[in-house]
Symmetry: C2
Subunit: 248 residues, 2 copies
Amino acid sequence: MGGPRFEPVRAVHAYERVVEQVEEAIESGALSPGERLPSERDLMVQFSVSRSTVREALRVLQARGLVRSRPGDPHGAEVLPFTPAALHKSMTTLARVAELSLAELVQFRMVLDSSASLLAARLRTDGHLAEMGAAVARMRAATDHDAFVAEDVSFHDVVARASGNKLIQICTDVVRSIVLGLISEKLAAAPDRQALMRQTIKHHEEVLAAVRAGDGPLAARLTRKAMYDYYADYVRDAERPALRALLE
Amino acid sequence: MGGPRFEPVRAVHAYERVVEQVEEAIESGALSPGERLPSERDLMVQFSVSRSTVREALRVLQARGLVRSRPGDPHGAEVLPFTPAALHKSMTTLARVAELSLAELVQFRMVLDSSASLLAARLRTDGHLAEMGAAVARMRAATDHDAFVAEDVSFHDVVARASGNKLIQICTDVVRSIVLGLISEKLAAAPDRQALMRQTIKHHEEVLAAVRAGDGPLAARLTRKAMYDYYADYVRDAERPALRALLE
DNA sequence: GCTAGTGCACTGGTCGGACCAGTAGGCTGC
DNA sequence: GCAGCCTACTGGTCCGACCAGTGCACTAGC
Protein backbone atom coordinates (compact mmCIF):
# COMPACT_ATOMS: atom_id res chain seq x y z
CA MET A 1 0.00 0.00 0.00
CA GLY A 2 1.12 3.51 -0.57
CA GLY A 3 3.47 2.73 -3.38
CA PRO A 4 2.77 3.54 -7.00
CA ARG A 5 -0.51 2.02 -8.11
CA PHE A 6 0.13 -0.45 -10.86
CA GLU A 7 -2.63 -1.35 -13.22
CA PRO A 8 -3.12 -4.88 -14.40
CA VAL A 9 -1.67 -5.31 -17.84
CA ARG A 10 -3.08 -7.58 -20.44
CA ALA A 11 -0.91 -9.06 -23.10
CA VAL A 12 -1.78 -7.23 -26.26
CA HIS A 13 -0.77 -9.06 -29.37
CA ALA A 14 1.09 -7.46 -32.20
CA TYR A 15 -1.76 -7.82 -34.64
CA GLU A 16 -4.08 -6.06 -32.19
CA ARG A 17 -1.82 -3.06 -32.16
CA VAL A 18 -1.93 -2.96 -35.93
CA VAL A 19 -5.72 -3.21 -35.87
CA GLU A 20 -5.98 -0.45 -33.32
CA GLN A 21 -3.80 1.95 -35.25
CA VAL A 22 -5.53 1.43 -38.57
CA GLU A 23 -8.95 1.51 -36.92
CA GLU A 24 -8.10 4.75 -35.21
CA ALA A 25 -6.95 6.25 -38.48
CA ILE A 26 -10.19 5.29 -40.17
CA GLU A 27 -12.56 6.29 -37.39
CA SER A 28 -10.81 9.59 -36.84
CA GLY A 29 -11.11 10.40 -40.50
CA ALA A 30 -7.38 10.37 -41.21
CA LEU A 31 -8.23 7.69 -43.75
CA SER A 32 -11.37 8.30 -45.75
CA PRO A 33 -13.50 5.80 -47.64
CA GLY A 34 -12.03 5.11 -51.05
CA GLU A 35 -8.48 5.77 -49.92
CA ARG A 36 -5.99 2.93 -49.98
CA LEU A 37 -3.88 1.34 -47.33
CA PRO A 38 -0.23 0.68 -48.13
CA SER A 39 0.48 -2.78 -49.45
CA GLU A 40 0.95 -5.59 -46.95
CA ARG A 41 4.68 -5.54 -47.63
CA ASP A 42 4.80 -1.84 -46.89
CA LEU A 43 2.75 -2.25 -43.75
CA MET A 44 5.08 -4.93 -42.40
CA VAL A 45 7.91 -2.43 -42.70
CA GLN A 46 5.96 0.45 -41.18
CA PHE A 47 4.75 -1.61 -38.23
CA SER A 48 7.94 -3.67 -37.95
CA VAL A 49 6.03 -6.92 -37.92
CA SER A 50 5.89 -9.90 -40.21
CA ARG A 51 3.49 -10.21 -43.04
CA SER A 52 1.51 -12.89 -41.20
CA THR A 53 0.81 -10.40 -38.46
CA VAL A 54 -0.22 -7.73 -40.92
CA ARG A 55 -2.52 -10.16 -42.64
CA GLU A 56 -4.20 -11.25 -39.44
CA ALA A 57 -4.83 -7.61 -38.61
CA LEU A 58 -6.27 -6.97 -42.06
CA ARG A 59 -8.55 -9.97 -41.66
CA VAL A 60 -9.96 -8.48 -38.47
CA LEU A 61 -10.44 -5.08 -40.08
CA GLN A 62 -12.10 -6.79 -42.99
CA ALA A 63 -14.42 -8.74 -40.67
CA ARG A 64 -15.41 -5.43 -39.12
CA GLY A 65 -16.29 -4.08 -42.54
CA LEU A 66 -13.70 -1.32 -42.48
CA VAL A 67 -11.50 -2.38 -45.40
CA ARG A 68 -11.59 -4.67 -48.38
CA SER A 69 -8.74 -6.21 -50.29
CA ARG A 70 -8.68 -7.79 -53.69
CA PRO A 71 -6.02 -10.15 -54.96
CA GLY A 72 -3.68 -8.47 -57.33
CA ASP A 73 -4.85 -4.97 -56.65
CA PRO A 74 -1.70 -2.88 -56.98
CA HIS A 75 -3.17 -0.08 -54.86
CA GLY A 76 -3.53 -2.01 -51.64
CA ALA A 77 -6.56 -2.54 -49.43
CA GLU A 78 -9.40 -0.08 -49.84
CA VAL A 79 -11.00 1.79 -46.97
CA LEU A 80 -14.72 1.19 -47.20
CA PRO A 81 -17.54 3.62 -46.58
CA PHE A 82 -19.54 2.60 -43.56
CA THR A 83 -22.16 -0.06 -44.10
CA PRO A 84 -24.23 -1.78 -41.44
CA ALA A 85 -22.90 -5.09 -42.75
CA ALA A 86 -20.91 -5.80 -39.60
CA LEU A 87 -23.85 -4.83 -37.43
CA HIS A 88 -26.03 -7.04 -39.53
CA LYS A 89 -23.65 -9.93 -39.18
CA SER A 90 -23.33 -9.69 -35.43
CA MET A 91 -27.06 -9.30 -34.98
CA THR A 92 -27.73 -12.30 -37.19
CA THR A 93 -25.30 -14.30 -35.11
CA LEU A 94 -27.04 -13.01 -32.02
CA ALA A 95 -30.37 -14.16 -33.39
CA ARG A 96 -29.06 -17.67 -33.93
CA VAL A 97 -26.83 -18.13 -30.90
CA ALA A 98 -29.04 -16.35 -28.37
CA GLU A 99 -31.99 -18.13 -29.93
CA LEU A 100 -34.06 -15.05 -30.53
CA SER A 101 -37.61 -15.98 -31.37
CA LEU A 102 -39.46 -14.50 -34.29
CA ALA A 103 -41.77 -12.87 -31.75
CA GLU A 104 -38.89 -11.00 -30.16
CA LEU A 105 -37.68 -9.78 -33.53
CA VAL A 106 -41.14 -8.69 -34.60
CA GLN A 107 -41.74 -7.01 -31.27
CA PHE A 108 -38.50 -5.12 -31.72
CA ARG A 109 -39.63 -4.02 -35.15
CA MET A 110 -42.97 -2.91 -33.75
CA VAL A 111 -41.15 -0.74 -31.26
CA LEU A 112 -38.66 0.76 -33.68
CA ASP A 113 -40.89 1.22 -36.71
CA SER A 114 -43.71 2.74 -34.69
CA SER A 115 -41.27 5.16 -33.11
CA ALA A 116 -40.00 6.01 -36.56
CA SER A 117 -43.56 6.73 -37.66
CA LEU A 118 -44.12 8.86 -34.58
CA LEU A 119 -41.05 10.94 -35.30
CA ALA A 120 -41.70 11.03 -39.02
CA ALA A 121 -45.12 12.55 -38.41
CA ARG A 122 -43.29 15.44 -36.79
CA LEU A 123 -40.23 15.81 -38.93
CA ARG A 124 -41.20 14.64 -42.39
CA THR A 125 -40.64 16.95 -45.34
CA ASP A 126 -42.76 17.19 -48.45
CA GLY A 127 -40.10 15.15 -50.19
CA HIS A 128 -40.56 12.32 -47.72
CA LEU A 129 -44.32 12.38 -48.19
CA ALA A 130 -43.87 12.22 -51.95
CA GLU A 131 -41.49 9.27 -51.64
CA MET A 132 -43.88 7.44 -49.35
CA GLY A 133 -46.75 8.05 -51.74
CA ALA A 134 -44.66 6.82 -54.64
CA ALA A 135 -43.73 3.67 -52.75
CA VAL A 136 -47.38 2.90 -52.04
CA ALA A 137 -48.19 3.50 -55.70
CA ARG A 138 -45.47 1.06 -56.73
CA MET A 139 -46.80 -1.47 -54.22
CA ARG A 140 -50.18 -1.23 -55.88
CA ALA A 141 -48.61 -1.68 -59.31
CA ALA A 142 -46.40 -4.58 -58.28
CA THR A 143 -47.13 -7.74 -60.21
CA ASP A 144 -45.08 -10.36 -58.44
CA HIS A 145 -44.64 -10.91 -54.75
CA ASP A 146 -40.95 -10.08 -54.59
CA ALA A 147 -41.48 -6.66 -56.13
CA PHE A 148 -44.29 -6.03 -53.69
CA VAL A 149 -42.09 -6.84 -50.70
CA ALA A 150 -39.31 -4.68 -52.11
CA GLU A 151 -41.63 -1.67 -52.31
CA ASP A 152 -42.99 -2.41 -48.88
CA VAL A 153 -39.43 -2.26 -47.60
CA SER A 154 -38.74 1.00 -49.39
CA PHE A 155 -41.82 2.56 -47.77
CA HIS A 156 -40.59 1.65 -44.31
CA ASP A 157 -37.16 2.88 -45.24
CA VAL A 158 -38.46 6.32 -46.15
CA VAL A 159 -40.30 6.51 -42.85
CA ALA A 160 -37.15 5.54 -40.99
CA ARG A 161 -35.20 8.18 -42.86
CA ALA A 162 -37.86 10.77 -42.11
CA SER A 163 -37.49 10.02 -38.40
CA GLY A 164 -34.20 11.89 -38.54
CA ASN A 165 -32.45 9.24 -36.48
CA LYS A 166 -29.75 7.31 -38.31
CA LEU A 167 -29.54 4.67 -35.59
CA ILE A 168 -33.25 3.94 -35.87
CA GLN A 169 -32.89 3.82 -39.61
CA ILE A 170 -30.02 1.35 -39.55
CA CYS A 171 -31.51 -0.88 -36.86
CA THR A 172 -34.88 -1.11 -38.53
CA ASP A 173 -33.09 -2.04 -41.71
CA VAL A 174 -30.99 -4.73 -40.07
CA VAL A 175 -33.75 -6.33 -38.04
CA ARG A 176 -36.17 -6.16 -40.94
CA SER A 177 -33.86 -8.08 -43.21
CA ILE A 178 -33.32 -10.71 -40.52
CA VAL A 179 -37.06 -11.15 -40.07
CA LEU A 180 -37.64 -11.34 -43.80
CA GLY A 181 -34.83 -13.85 -44.13
CA LEU A 182 -36.53 -16.03 -41.56
CA ILE A 183 -39.99 -16.10 -43.08
CA SER A 184 -39.78 -14.88 -46.66
CA GLU A 185 -40.55 -18.31 -48.02
CA LYS A 186 -43.56 -18.66 -45.74
CA LEU A 187 -44.81 -15.26 -46.85
CA ALA A 188 -44.43 -16.19 -50.50
CA ALA A 189 -46.44 -19.35 -49.90
CA ALA A 190 -49.20 -17.66 -47.91
CA PRO A 191 -52.77 -18.45 -48.93
CA ASP A 192 -54.88 -15.61 -50.37
CA ARG A 193 -51.82 -13.50 -50.94
CA GLN A 194 -53.91 -11.04 -52.90
CA ALA A 195 -56.02 -10.22 -49.86
CA LEU A 196 -52.92 -9.82 -47.72
CA MET A 197 -51.39 -7.46 -50.25
CA ARG A 198 -54.56 -5.37 -50.44
CA GLN A 199 -54.70 -5.14 -46.67
CA THR A 200 -51.04 -4.19 -46.48
CA ILE A 201 -51.54 -1.41 -49.00
CA LYS A 202 -54.50 -0.13 -47.00
CA HIS A 203 -52.42 -0.12 -43.83
CA HIS A 204 -49.66 1.83 -45.50
CA GLU A 205 -52.10 4.38 -46.85
CA GLU A 206 -53.48 4.91 -43.37
CA VAL A 207 -50.01 5.36 -41.92
CA LEU A 208 -49.14 7.78 -44.69
CA ALA A 209 -52.29 9.77 -44.02
CA ALA A 210 -51.48 9.99 -40.32
CA VAL A 211 -47.90 11.05 -41.04
CA ARG A 212 -49.15 13.63 -43.51
CA ALA A 213 -51.61 14.93 -40.91
CA GLY A 214 -48.82 15.14 -38.36
CA ASP A 215 -50.61 12.77 -35.99
CA GLY A 216 -47.62 10.91 -34.55
CA PRO A 217 -49.39 8.76 -31.95
CA LEU A 218 -51.91 7.60 -34.53
CA ALA A 219 -49.19 6.81 -37.05
CA ALA A 220 -47.33 4.84 -34.38
CA ARG A 221 -50.43 2.91 -33.38
CA LEU A 222 -51.27 2.08 -36.98
CA THR A 223 -47.73 0.93 -37.64
CA ARG A 224 -47.80 -1.46 -34.70
CA LYS A 225 -51.18 -2.78 -35.72
CA ALA A 226 -50.12 -3.29 -39.32
CA MET A 227 -47.04 -5.17 -38.31
CA TYR A 228 -48.94 -7.33 -35.88
CA ASP A 229 -51.49 -8.27 -38.52
CA TYR A 230 -48.75 -9.03 -41.00
CA TYR A 231 -46.64 -11.28 -38.80
CA ALA A 232 -48.89 -12.61 -36.03
CA ASP A 233 -49.73 -15.79 -37.92
CA TYR A 234 -46.12 -16.84 -37.99
CA VAL A 235 -45.50 -16.30 -34.29
CA ARG A 236 -45.94 -19.09 -31.78
CA ASP A 237 -49.28 -18.90 -29.96
CA ALA A 238 -47.66 -18.53 -26.57
CA GLU A 239 -45.75 -15.45 -27.65
CA ARG A 240 -48.60 -13.60 -29.30
CA PRO A 241 -49.83 -11.93 -26.09
CA ALA A 242 -46.47 -10.22 -25.71
CA LEU A 243 -46.95 -8.68 -29.13
CA ARG A 244 -50.50 -7.64 -28.32
CA ALA A 245 -49.18 -5.87 -25.24
CA LEU A 246 -47.86 -3.22 -27.62
CA LEU A 247 -51.17 -2.72 -29.39
CA GLU A 248 -53.48 -0.81 -27.11
CA MET B 1 -31.59 -18.41 -73.13
CA GLY B 2 -33.00 -21.81 -72.45
CA GLY B 3 -29.75 -23.41 -71.43
CA PRO B 4 -28.83 -24.20 -67.85
CA ARG B 5 -28.98 -21.08 -65.71
CA PHE B 6 -25.57 -20.40 -64.27
CA GLU B 7 -25.26 -18.33 -61.16
CA PRO B 8 -22.50 -15.81 -60.75
CA VAL B 9 -19.71 -17.22 -58.66
CA ARG B 10 -17.58 -15.23 -56.36
CA ALA B 11 -14.12 -16.29 -55.44
CA VAL B 12 -14.35 -17.61 -51.93
CA HIS B 13 -11.08 -17.76 -50.15
CA ALA B 14 -9.86 -20.76 -48.22
CA TYR B 15 -10.01 -19.02 -44.88
CA GLU B 16 -13.64 -18.06 -45.53
CA ARG B 17 -14.56 -21.68 -45.97
CA VAL B 18 -12.94 -22.48 -42.66
CA VAL B 19 -14.81 -19.62 -41.01
CA GLU B 20 -18.09 -20.76 -42.49
CA GLN B 21 -17.71 -24.33 -41.33
CA VAL B 22 -16.73 -23.46 -37.78
CA GLU B 23 -19.38 -20.76 -37.60
CA GLU B 24 -22.02 -23.19 -38.76
CA ALA B 25 -20.92 -25.72 -36.17
CA ILE B 26 -21.21 -23.15 -33.40
CA GLU B 27 -24.47 -21.56 -34.48
CA SER B 28 -26.11 -24.90 -35.07
CA GLY B 29 -25.14 -26.03 -31.62
CA ALA B 30 -22.79 -28.78 -32.75
CA LEU B 31 -20.18 -26.90 -30.76
CA SER B 32 -21.36 -25.55 -27.44
CA PRO B 33 -19.85 -22.75 -25.35
CA GLY B 34 -17.01 -24.05 -23.25
CA GLU B 35 -16.10 -26.74 -25.74
CA ARG B 36 -12.74 -26.59 -27.44
CA LEU B 37 -11.71 -26.43 -31.03
CA PRO B 38 -8.93 -28.74 -32.17
CA SER B 39 -5.49 -27.16 -32.09
CA GLU B 40 -4.41 -25.07 -35.06
CA ARG B 41 -2.14 -27.86 -36.18
CA ASP B 42 -5.02 -30.31 -36.09
CA LEU B 43 -7.29 -27.92 -37.93
CA MET B 44 -4.79 -27.47 -40.74
CA VAL B 45 -4.89 -31.22 -41.27
CA GLN B 46 -8.68 -31.46 -41.07
CA PHE B 47 -9.23 -28.57 -43.47
CA SER B 48 -6.20 -29.38 -45.63
CA VAL B 49 -4.95 -25.83 -45.45
CA SER B 50 -1.87 -24.21 -44.02
CA ARG B 51 -1.65 -22.90 -40.52
CA SER B 52 -1.65 -19.30 -41.80
CA THR B 53 -5.04 -19.91 -43.32
CA VAL B 54 -6.35 -21.53 -40.16
CA ARG B 55 -5.07 -18.62 -38.13
CA GLU B 56 -6.68 -16.02 -40.36
CA ALA B 57 -9.96 -17.87 -40.00
CA LEU B 58 -9.59 -18.00 -36.23
CA ARG B 59 -8.89 -14.28 -36.17
CA VAL B 60 -12.16 -13.62 -37.93
CA LEU B 61 -14.07 -15.91 -35.60
CA GLN B 62 -12.42 -14.20 -32.68
CA ALA B 63 -13.35 -10.76 -34.01
CA ARG B 64 -16.93 -11.97 -34.17
CA GLY B 65 -16.75 -13.01 -30.55
CA LEU B 66 -17.35 -16.68 -31.21
CA VAL B 67 -14.08 -18.13 -29.96
CA ARG B 68 -11.12 -17.15 -27.85
CA SER B 69 -7.62 -18.53 -27.87
CA ARG B 70 -4.91 -18.19 -25.32
CA PRO B 71 -1.24 -18.77 -25.94
CA GLY B 72 -0.07 -22.05 -24.58
CA ASP B 73 -3.51 -23.44 -23.89
CA PRO B 74 -3.14 -27.16 -24.62
CA HIS B 75 -6.87 -27.55 -25.22
CA GLY B 76 -7.15 -25.29 -28.22
CA ALA B 77 -9.44 -22.35 -28.82
CA GLU B 78 -12.50 -22.11 -26.62
CA VAL B 79 -16.00 -21.65 -27.95
CA LEU B 80 -17.46 -18.68 -26.13
CA PRO B 81 -20.96 -18.23 -24.80
CA PHE B 82 -22.68 -15.44 -26.67
CA THR B 83 -21.88 -11.96 -25.53
CA PRO B 84 -23.00 -8.74 -27.19
CA ALA B 85 -19.35 -7.74 -27.44
CA ALA B 86 -19.30 -7.97 -31.23
CA LEU B 87 -22.57 -6.10 -31.45
CA HIS B 88 -21.15 -3.52 -29.11
CA LYS B 89 -18.04 -3.16 -31.18
CA SER B 90 -19.84 -2.73 -34.47
CA MET B 91 -22.30 -0.28 -32.98
CA THR B 92 -19.50 1.74 -31.45
CA THR B 93 -17.81 1.84 -34.82
CA LEU B 94 -21.11 2.87 -36.32
CA ALA B 95 -21.41 5.67 -33.82
CA ARG B 96 -18.00 7.01 -34.77
CA VAL B 97 -17.97 6.44 -38.50
CA ALA B 98 -21.59 7.34 -39.19
CA GLU B 99 -21.15 10.26 -36.81
CA LEU B 100 -24.12 9.49 -34.64
CA SER B 101 -24.95 12.40 -32.41
CA LEU B 102 -25.54 12.06 -28.71
CA ALA B 103 -29.13 13.10 -29.39
CA GLU B 104 -29.69 10.18 -31.72
CA LEU B 105 -28.28 7.76 -29.18
CA VAL B 106 -30.34 9.19 -26.35
CA GLN B 107 -33.44 9.21 -28.51
CA PHE B 108 -32.84 5.57 -29.29
CA ARG B 109 -32.55 4.85 -25.59
CA MET B 110 -35.76 6.74 -24.91
CA VAL B 111 -37.53 4.53 -27.43
CA LEU B 112 -36.09 1.25 -26.24
CA ASP B 113 -36.13 1.82 -22.50
CA SER B 114 -39.65 3.20 -22.51
CA SER B 115 -40.82 0.20 -24.49
CA ALA B 116 -39.08 -2.03 -21.99
CA SER B 117 -40.94 -0.28 -19.18
CA LEU B 118 -44.21 -0.65 -21.04
CA LEU B 119 -43.69 -4.38 -21.46
CA ALA B 120 -42.30 -4.80 -17.97
CA ALA B 121 -45.47 -3.32 -16.50
CA ARG B 122 -47.29 -6.20 -18.11
CA LEU B 123 -44.90 -9.06 -17.71
CA ARG B 124 -42.92 -8.35 -14.54
CA THR B 125 -42.82 -10.98 -11.82
CA ASP B 126 -42.59 -10.36 -8.10
CA GLY B 127 -38.94 -11.20 -8.38
CA HIS B 128 -38.40 -8.42 -10.87
CA LEU B 129 -40.20 -5.93 -8.63
CA ALA B 130 -38.03 -6.97 -5.71
CA GLU B 131 -34.87 -6.56 -7.77
CA MET B 132 -35.95 -3.14 -8.96
CA GLY B 133 -36.74 -2.07 -5.41
CA ALA B 134 -33.38 -3.34 -4.23
CA ALA B 135 -31.60 -1.43 -6.99
CA VAL B 136 -33.33 1.81 -5.98
CA ALA B 137 -32.42 1.16 -2.36
CA ARG B 138 -28.79 0.68 -3.31
CA MET B 139 -28.92 3.88 -5.37
CA ARG B 140 -30.08 5.72 -2.28
CA ALA B 141 -27.30 4.16 -0.22
CA ALA B 142 -24.59 4.82 -2.80
CA THR B 143 -21.83 7.06 -1.51
CA ASP B 144 -19.77 7.80 -4.58
CA HIS B 145 -20.96 8.68 -8.05
CA ASP B 146 -19.65 5.57 -9.78
CA ALA B 147 -21.58 3.28 -7.47
CA PHE B 148 -24.70 5.36 -8.03
CA VAL B 149 -24.39 5.03 -11.80
CA ALA B 150 -23.76 1.32 -11.48
CA GLU B 151 -26.98 0.83 -9.54
CA ASP B 152 -28.85 3.05 -11.96
CA VAL B 153 -27.68 0.75 -14.73
CA SER B 154 -28.73 -2.35 -12.82
CA PHE B 155 -32.22 -0.90 -12.36
CA HIS B 156 -32.61 -0.37 -16.09
CA ASP B 157 -31.21 -3.81 -16.70
CA VAL B 158 -33.86 -5.45 -14.53
CA VAL B 159 -36.56 -3.55 -16.40
CA ALA B 160 -35.11 -4.68 -19.72
CA ARG B 161 -35.03 -8.25 -18.50
CA ALA B 162 -38.60 -8.00 -17.27
CA SER B 163 -39.67 -6.92 -20.76
CA GLY B 164 -39.17 -10.50 -21.82
CA ASN B 165 -37.39 -9.48 -25.00
CA LYS B 166 -33.74 -10.45 -25.18
CA LEU B 167 -33.10 -8.20 -28.16
CA ILE B 168 -34.41 -5.17 -26.30
CA GLN B 169 -32.33 -6.17 -23.32
CA ILE B 170 -29.14 -6.49 -25.31
CA CYS B 171 -29.65 -3.34 -27.36
CA THR B 172 -30.46 -1.18 -24.36
CA ASP B 173 -27.33 -2.52 -22.74
CA VAL B 174 -25.13 -1.80 -25.75
CA VAL B 175 -26.46 1.68 -26.47
CA ARG B 176 -26.45 2.61 -22.82
CA SER B 177 -22.79 1.80 -22.43
CA ILE B 178 -21.96 3.80 -25.54
CA VAL B 179 -23.83 6.82 -24.22
CA LEU B 180 -22.20 6.52 -20.81
CA GLY B 181 -18.82 6.18 -22.46
CA LEU B 182 -19.43 9.43 -24.29
CA ILE B 183 -20.46 11.55 -21.35
CA SER B 184 -19.49 9.79 -18.14
CA GLU B 185 -16.83 12.36 -17.38
CA LYS B 186 -19.27 15.19 -17.93
CA LEU B 187 -21.77 13.52 -15.64
CA ALA B 188 -19.17 13.08 -12.92
CA ALA B 189 -18.32 16.78 -13.14
CA ALA B 190 -21.90 17.99 -13.14
CA PRO B 191 -22.76 20.80 -10.73
CA ASP B 192 -25.16 20.00 -7.86
CA ARG B 193 -24.75 16.32 -8.38
CA GLN B 194 -26.62 15.67 -5.19
CA ALA B 195 -29.77 17.27 -6.55
CA LEU B 196 -29.45 15.30 -9.77
CA MET B 197 -29.08 12.05 -7.85
CA ARG B 198 -32.12 12.81 -5.70
CA GLN B 199 -34.17 13.59 -8.77
CA THR B 200 -33.00 10.43 -10.49
CA ILE B 201 -33.99 8.32 -7.50
CA LYS B 202 -37.41 9.96 -7.49
CA HIS B 203 -37.84 9.20 -11.17
CA HIS B 204 -36.94 5.58 -10.66
CA GLU B 205 -39.38 5.25 -7.77
CA GLU B 206 -42.15 6.63 -9.94
CA VAL B 207 -41.32 4.22 -12.75
CA LEU B 208 -41.21 1.35 -10.28
CA ALA B 209 -44.61 2.35 -8.89
CA ALA B 210 -46.10 2.45 -12.39
CA VAL B 211 -44.62 -0.93 -13.26
CA ARG B 212 -45.88 -2.35 -10.00
CA ALA B 213 -49.34 -0.96 -10.71
CA GLY B 214 -49.25 -2.48 -14.18
CA ASP B 215 -49.68 0.90 -15.86
CA GLY B 216 -47.50 0.41 -18.92
CA PRO B 217 -48.18 3.68 -20.76
CA LEU B 218 -47.46 5.66 -17.61
CA ALA B 219 -44.25 3.74 -16.95
CA ALA B 220 -43.18 4.37 -20.53
CA ARG B 221 -43.94 8.08 -20.33
CA LEU B 222 -42.08 8.43 -17.04
CA THR B 223 -39.09 6.58 -18.46
CA ARG B 224 -38.87 8.91 -21.45
CA LYS B 225 -39.23 11.95 -19.24
CA ALA B 226 -36.58 10.77 -16.80
CA MET B 227 -34.13 10.11 -19.58
CA TYR B 228 -34.78 13.45 -21.19
CA ASP B 229 -34.22 15.28 -17.93
CA TYR B 230 -31.05 13.34 -17.31
CA TYR B 231 -29.41 13.89 -20.69
CA ALA B 232 -31.00 16.97 -22.25
CA ASP B 233 -28.32 19.31 -20.94
CA TYR B 234 -25.65 17.47 -22.87
CA VAL B 235 -27.48 17.49 -26.18
CA ARG B 236 -26.97 20.26 -28.71
CA ASP B 237 -29.75 22.87 -28.58
CA ALA B 238 -30.78 22.24 -32.17
CA GLU B 239 -31.40 18.58 -31.51
CA ARG B 240 -33.40 18.93 -28.31
CA PRO B 241 -36.77 19.36 -30.08
CA ALA B 242 -36.37 15.93 -31.65
CA LEU B 243 -36.06 14.46 -28.17
CA ARG B 244 -39.05 16.42 -26.92
CA ALA B 245 -41.08 14.97 -29.78
CA LEU B 246 -41.09 11.73 -27.82
CA LEU B 247 -42.33 13.30 -24.61
CA GLU B 248 -45.99 14.14 -25.01
C1' DG C 1 -0.69 -42.15 1.03
C1' DC C 2 -0.80 -37.54 -0.14
C1' DT C 3 1.06 -33.20 -1.48
C1' DA C 4 4.35 -29.86 -3.47
C1' DG C 5 7.42 -29.19 -7.00
C1' DT C 6 9.45 -30.11 -11.50
C1' DG C 7 9.88 -31.28 -16.27
C1' DC C 8 7.87 -32.07 -20.68
C1' DA C 9 4.93 -32.11 -24.55
C1' DC C 10 2.24 -29.19 -26.80
C1' DT C 11 0.02 -24.84 -27.51
C1' DG C 12 -0.65 -20.28 -29.79
C1' DG C 13 2.12 -15.99 -31.46
C1' DT C 14 5.44 -14.39 -34.54
C1' DC C 15 8.81 -14.53 -38.01
C1' DG C 16 10.92 -15.19 -42.73
C1' DG C 17 10.88 -16.97 -47.10
C1' DA C 18 8.66 -18.92 -51.07
C1' DC C 19 5.39 -19.62 -54.94
C1' DC C 20 1.15 -18.62 -57.46
C1' DA C 21 -2.66 -16.23 -59.94
C1' DG C 22 -4.26 -11.92 -60.84
C1' DT C 23 -4.13 -6.87 -61.72
C1' DA C 24 -2.92 -2.26 -63.78
C1' DG C 25 -0.20 0.59 -66.16
C1' DG C 26 3.52 1.32 -69.10
C1' DC C 27 5.69 -0.18 -73.28
C1' DT C 28 6.09 -1.98 -77.81
C1' DG C 29 4.82 -2.71 -82.40
C1' DC C 30 1.72 -1.74 -85.64
C1' DG D 1 -2.80 6.98 -82.17
C1' DC D 2 -4.13 2.64 -80.74
C1' DA D 3 -4.39 -2.38 -79.68
C1' DG D 4 -2.12 -5.74 -77.44
C1' DC D 5 1.57 -7.55 -74.76
C1' DC D 6 4.93 -7.32 -70.55
C1' DT D 7 6.24 -6.61 -66.30
C1' DA D 8 6.38 -5.24 -61.69
C1' DC D 9 3.75 -5.72 -57.96
C1' DT D 10 -0.28 -7.27 -55.45
C1' DG D 11 -2.85 -10.36 -52.21
C1' DG D 12 -3.66 -15.57 -51.15
C1' DT D 13 -1.55 -19.60 -49.65
C1' DC D 14 1.91 -22.64 -48.17
C1' DC D 15 6.02 -24.19 -45.49
C1' DG D 16 9.31 -24.39 -41.77
C1' DA D 17 11.12 -22.43 -37.75
C1' DC D 18 11.55 -20.40 -33.08
C1' DC D 19 9.74 -18.62 -28.71
C1' DA D 20 7.11 -18.01 -24.41
C1' DG D 21 3.47 -19.84 -22.05
C1' DT D 22 0.30 -23.56 -20.33
C1' DG D 23 -1.49 -27.86 -18.14
C1' DC D 24 -0.56 -32.46 -16.99
C1' DA D 25 1.95 -36.28 -15.57
C1' DC D 26 5.44 -37.58 -13.07
C1' DT D 27 8.53 -37.37 -9.18
C1' DA D 28 10.54 -36.34 -4.72
C1' DG D 29 9.58 -35.30 -0.21
C1' DC D 30 6.59 -35.42 3.72
